[in-house]
Amino acid sequence: MNTSFQDTDVSRYMKNQESITLEEQEMLWDAHVLVAGAGGLGGFLIEMLARAGIGRLTIVDGDCFELSNLNRQILALETTLGRSKAEIAGERVRAINNRIQCSLVPEFLSEETFFAHCTDVHLVADALGGLASHLALFHACRQAGLPLVTGSVAGWTGIAATVLPGSPGPELLWQGQDGEDAEKVLGSLAPVAALVASVQCTEIMRFLTGKQPALAGRLLVADLASMVFDVLEL
């Protein structure tokens, strides 16, 4: 399925070319990204990674769409309620580019599933919800020596960071019980999820094209309620 870069891809990515060279576009096509979570962040992120031309995606999510997802999750539609998030994400990717090699894992990510599916992965995208899930994925990536591009949201606040092997991460933000998560009180909103996913996608594209991620060891913070944006050293 994921054959080499083709002549038709030059037309497909024509509008990228002033920002992403053809050589870089081929680097994206040769890359394999594991996306953990296909919900609020994951839906937007998968959409952008597929359109960016990442050649191989492994999408892990054991959840199904429900009514309360419709406020923000781009893959949640009245027609997809009750269906597997991973399966719907796969359908979306194939509709964007049928040559993208897409492995779907309709299971909740555990240490076992992670290590079973991280072979040949170049980078992990954290689009999970819940403090414990973020923390577990962070530690698993540390153990596997894989770069992690993480994002999380609560109300009008969004954060994103890139954690390279050995570089500091925002793991302190995920300490505590899931009930203590600010998201449990504030919920999450489409513009914040889309913004954080955009930042994550950009970082992933930077890394996969050989550039230094702008957020390695740093935390981008966005508060859309006050339109305050900042990049902080971890």
Binding site: G37, G39, G40, L41, G42, A127, L128, G129, G130, L131, S133, H134, G151, S152, V153, A154, G155, T157, I159, P168, P170, L172, L173, W174, Q175, G176, D178, E180, D181, A182, E183, V185, L186, G187, S188, L219, V221, D223, A225, S226, V228, D230, V231, L232, E233, L234
Partner: protein, 75 residues
């Protein structure tokens, strides 16, 4: 002395009016949290002038820019 303070997410309501407050030195970061009324157990990260500060016994300086975060884990 005057400092800038911004509290995020669930702690947003603890941000002083205009994002600035006058404090009397010496005042540690822990002391600042207490002064703001922010329960310390709800705080996960404190940034001072754009850098993560894990030592909350650090004294606040004039013109410091301080950001305070609770756990944020939504996806």
């Amino acid at each position: 002395m005057r400092i800038d303070v911004k509290c995020f997410a669930t702690l947003r309501g603890f941000t002083p009016d205009g994002g600035q407050m006058d404090v009397v030195p010496p005042l540690t970061l822990s002391g600042l949290l207490e002064k703001l009324g922010v329960p310390e157990k709800e705080v996960r990260l404190v940034f001072v002038n754009g850098k993560n500060e894990s030592h909350w016994s650090r004294e606040v300086q004039a013109d410091d820019r301080i950001g305070i975060f609770p756990p944020v884990g939504g996806g």
